[in-house]
């Protein structure tokens, strides 16, 4: 081939790169491995991830749920996972119809009117929601509850630092674990939005309707963020609560933990804000013969048309993960989603009750919960959990001190439908033993 185009050596291909810029040595990366060797090497690393193969009560933004086997079969279809963004609708109807169904499902679950084709994850979706609230309201102040996932708040801070947004935090009520009532005082006519997570990072379900009312009275939006999307079938829908923008981490919908990603940002809002939404949207369209199909639409919001004036810089999103979620939601279906959600709530209630009964342990927050709750231990939680992990091979929870250095004895426990009663009972007795 080189000869056919008149060249003599591979080096000739790179003549437009000045010679002094060419790398005249081999890359200092390792030599090639065969399949056999590569798999063996990764298996060895995998074994050093001791946390992966144990009963686990870790939540805090990433959840263990059962994933029906069909999900991986579908997302492993060549036609889905090796396709690009559906820019050519005639040969991308598969991807496009899936996204249309995904958008519909997100709307149904959140009780909202429009949803986009996905954001990177829950945290970036929240940051984009804050930016959008500023665009919509043309106000600069955003009030967030401190019980929003700390990593999400970090991401919001990063995103808004140069956007002229004044981000203010309000605390939580130490009795309930819900957003503090003082938030009402903070909302004013400069307020673009208040940001509430429910269930919040402590697992407390917030009084979203009441907060929405307060926001709306001041002309501000209510941004609701969820890290545990599987609570949607169980809790009053964000739409019914009056949320204006709903963002969520969709990982619970059939996506493996995978050490934190790729996950799935859900983004939904009211119809009237459709043209302010970040990211891709798929809409219905027809061909000349009247056949129904789907296309990417309202592209004038996006960076490839609008450039610096776009609603967001996002381009590649989480397509395949949105597919996984769509397969998950359709396989579980109406009744399956209700049952998963209800089992999570039931099992968490059982676990909370049992743990609360252990001598020296308590549950500091009183608000209603879904599947997460904070436990106060009689001693340092990090040490306790480490012992539990070493002696009982259980991941017992997330020490709050990871995020709140002033809460050394508390940890966050998450229980889902995959945790059997036996596992919960082992957790309880393990905590008992390790705290003695």
């Amino acid at each position: 081939m080189l000869k056919q185009i008149g060249l003599t050596s591979a080096e000739d291909l790179f003549t437009s790169i000045p010679e002094d810029l060419r790398l005249n040595r081999n890359l200092n990366t390792p030599p090639a491995l065969s399949e056999l060797e590569l798999l063996a090497a990764f298996e060895i690393r995998a074994e050093r991830n001791r946390g992966a193969s144990r009963p686990s009560f870790l939540g805090g933004g990433a959840y263990s749920h059962y994933i029906p086997t069909v999900v991986d079969h579908i997302i492993s279809r060549s036609e889905f996972f090796t396709a690009y963004t559906p820019y050519q609708p005639e040969i991308s109807q598969g991807t496009l119809q899936v996204i249309f169904e995904f958008q519909t499902l997100v709307c149904q679950l959140t009780g909202m009117e429009v949803a986009n084709a996905s954001m990177y994850d829950g945290s970036t979706a929240l940051a984009e929601a804050v930016l959008m609230a500023e665009r919509v309201t043309r106000r600069a102040k955003v009030i967030a509850c401190g019980a929003v996932h700390p990593e999400y708040l970090d991401v919001v801070r990063t995103y808004v630092q140069h956007a002229g947004i004044d981000l203010q935090l309000v605390g939580w009520d130490e009795h309930t674990g819900q957003t503090s009532a003082v938030i009402a005082d903070a909302i004013d006519s400069q307020t673009a939005a208040i940001v509430i997570q429910s269930p919040n990072f402590f697992g407390s379900v917030e009084s979203v309707s009441a907060l929405a009312e307060k926001a709306h009275t001041a002309g501000a939006l209510l941004i609701l963020v969820l890290t545990e999307a599987i609570s949607l079938p169980f809790l009053r829908s964000p739409g019914a609560c009056g949320a204006d923008i709903v963002v969520a981490e969709g990982q619970s919908f059939g996506v493996p933990l995978s050490f934190g990603g790729p996950y799935l940002g859900l983004f939904a809002t009211r119809e009237k804000y459709a043209r302010q939404i970040p990211g891709r949207l798929v809409g219905k369209a027809y061909d000349k013969e009247g056949n129904r199909g789907f296309v990417l639409t309202l592209a004038t919001r996006e960076q490839h048309i609008r450039r610096e004036k776009a609603t967001s810089n996002i381009c590649t999103n989480e397509g395949l993960i949105a597919l996984a979620a769509t397969v998950y939601l359709e396989t579980m279906g109406r009744r399956g989603l209700q049952e998963v959600a209800s089992q999570c709530a039931q099992k968490a209630a059982y676990a909370a009750r049992r743990i609360g009964e252990i001598d020296g342990f308590s549950l500091p927050f009183s608000a209603p919960r879904f599947n997460e709750f904070v436990v106060r231990a009689p001693s340092d939680a990090t040490a306790l959990l480490r012992r539990l992990s070493q002696e009982q091979e259980i991941n017992g929870g997330i020490p709050l001190s990871r995020y709140y250095s002033d809460r050394p004895n508390e940890f966050l426990v998450c229980v889902t439908e995959v945790n059997s009663r036996n596992e919960i009972d082992r957790l309880v007795s393990g905590l008992e033993q390790c705290s003695r």
């Binding site: 591979a10 291909l13 437009s16 000045p18 060419r22 990366t29 390792p30 030599p31 298996e43 074994e47 050093r48 946390g51 992966a52 193969s53 805090g60 933004g61 990433a62 996972f81 090796t82 396709a83 559906p86 050519q88 609708p89 005639e90 040969i91 991308s92 109807q93 598969g94 119809q97 996204i99 169904e101 679950l109 009780g111 949803a115 945290s123 996932h149 991401v155 995103y159 630092q161 169980f234 009053r236 981490e249 493996p256 933990l257 050490f259 790729p262 056949n291 996006e302 490839h304 776009a310 810089n313 996002i314 590649t316 999103n317 396989t331 989603l337 709530a345 039931q346 059982y350 990871r402």
Partner: protein, 504 residues
């Protein structure tokens, strides 16, 4: 052929309905273990006013086989790399190894919670660390963060680093005067959008008639004194290497700015030349391009940000570091950091695949892939040059741009050529990008096509050129081989229907 069986016909596979239209009350596709704990009364769990209000009405009720048929049928409406060449310029649609998919599904990774204690996730952290090291070597830029989830996210990260650096260097007052980001007119739309997110205003740099940065224009704008940086793609989006890159960096640096390189086109450089050696300060990579993680119909991606030693303290937290006992750890103690750009550590599953890509290729294989990618683009360039207008003379790197100039005389435009290519079994090239080339067709074959397939592609393109002369209608009405014809996108945007509703 009978008209009854053209396009969307009564054939089931071409008429798969929306799942909501297939739903039948009472069907289920799941089974959960029975609840094994004592049941708590509903009222006790949650006050009635906090409970879901609508019994999830309208959510689908289907069986498992319904689900399978639904998605398998829809999948057949997609083109994909596995079906053939996908020569989308700037997108680097290369083969996605099955092995890498398998690696990403090893339970010890797939079932690992991101908040597992460090001591229980050493294998996972090692993967991040190793990949960081390899990307540093490949780019020549030693500071690496894998947190960004895609190219645009990496851009934002990189530009925020520039901003933070300048803010710190110049102090509040002086830095406020340095709020201009220079971006070539040929750049990808994410570049200005990302610059905007960091509070920069954008000034456009002209390309020369040869398709590269206009140095005079650059100097002129740099002279205005407000330049924070220059965002350059190299090879640029026309597939041309910016041979003046060293000079460009010098000019920008002299003007007090930093150089950002959009690394989307690194597939032309891996193992051959390193941005760090050219004077670039910060770059993002697209693991979903250069390092072959699958595009997945739009994502997920991964957009690592690599930078100089000097900028490294500004990278997002946590950094993944190796301590003196060869243990991997999270380092949050980076006071100069721009902050976190994503929860947890980024799109970890993509990192596994990218590391597998680097390790199965080996240092020599990485370079060979680059050579093949460039050779293939050259071969196409050579094969089409007499049938299509090639606006730039310089030899292309990994992708080559043509235009519809000659065909448009007969009323056949880039869009039509693209659609007709579908009938030959190829995915179209990138069209109308970069914006500065009228009727652009940007073709990137990647290394994942053989000689035979290149010849077939060239033959198809030449055949279309001929059709454009002999039978323009055939091209104008293409595609003919697909389930549906061209869709009315304008109508769709005018009255957008973005979801299914039961009453419609």
């Amino acid at each position: 052929m009978n008209p009854r069986i053209t396009k969307v016909t009564s054939h089931l596979n071409h008429n798969e309905a929306l799942i909501f239209e297939r739903s039948q009350m009472g069907r289920v596709g799941y089974r959960l273990p029975p609840l094994d704990v004592p049941k708590t009364a509903d009222e006790e769990l949650l006050p009635a006013e906090l409970r879901r209000e609508d019994d999830l009405e309208d959510l689908p009720e289907v069986s498992e086989v319904d689900v399978i048929r639904h998605f398998i049928r829809m999948s057949t409406w997609n083109y994909s790399i596995d079906l053939g060449m996908y020569p989308l310029g700037s997108c680097t649609m290369k083969y996605n190894s099955r092995l890498n998919e398998k690696v990403a599904r090893i339970p010890g990774f797939a079932e690992l919670h991101p908040l597992c204690p460090e001591e229980d996730s050493q294998g996972a952290l090692e993967v991040i660390y190793e990949l960081q090291e390899h990307l540093a070597e490949i780019t020549g830029l030693p500071g690496v963060s894998l947190q960004p989830a895609a190219g645009a996210h990496g851009e934002m990260t990189g530009v925020m680093i520039i901003r933070a650096f300048i803010d710190a260097r110049d102090g509040e007052g002086a830095s406020a005067l340095r709020r201009t980001m220079l971006i070539p007119d040929s750049a990808h739309g994410t570049n200005p959008a990302s610059a905007h997110l960091s509070g920069f205003s954008v000034k456009s740099i002209r390309s020369t008639a040869e398709g590269v940065t206009d140095l005079k224009h650059l100097k002129q704008l740099c002279a205005e004194g407000d330049v924070a940086g220059f965002m350059l793609t190299n090879p640029n989006t026309l597939g041309l290497f910016e041979s003046n890159i060293k000079e460009i960096c010098r000019i920008v640096h002299d003007a007090g700015g930093l150089v950002y390189m959009d690394g989307a086109n690194m597939n032309a450089l891996v193992g051959v030349a390193r941005p760090g050696d050219m004077g670039v300060d910060v770059i993002h990579l697209n693991l979903h391009k250069t390092f072959s993680t699958p595009h997945g119909g739009g994502g997920p991606g991964s957009g690592p940000c690599c930078c100089t030693k000097e900028l490294e303290p500004l990278l997002p937290v946590p950094r993944i570091v190796k301590d003196s006992h060869d243990r991997y750890a999270l380092d949050f103690n980076q006071p100069q950091s721009i902050g976190r750009v994503k929860a947890f550590f980024g799109n970890y599953g993509m990192m596994l695949r990218a590391l597998a890509y680097i390790q199965t290729h080996g240092f020599d294989g990485l370079r060979e892939a680059t050579e093949a990618a460039v050779l293939n683009a050259r071969y196409i360039s050579h094969g089409l040059v007499s049938d299509y207008d090639k606006p730039f003379d310089r030899p292309p790197m990994h992708e080559v741009v043509f235009t519809d100039k000659w065909q448009s005389r007969k009323g056949v435009h880039t869009l039509d050529i693209a659609k007709r290519l579908i009938d030959y079994g190829f995915h179209p090239m990138t069209i109308y990008f970069p914006l500065i080339v009228q009727g652009a067709m940007l073709i990137e074959p990647t290394e994942s096509v053989g000689h035979q397939e290149l010849d077939q592609f060239i033959a198809a393109m030449r055949s279309i050129a001929q059709e454009a002369v002999e039978d323009p209608d055939l091209v104008l009405n293409a595609p003919h081989s697909t389930r549906i014809g061209r869709l009315d996108e304008a109508a769709a945007a005018r009255k957008p229907v973005l979801r299914w509703k039961s009453n419609e």
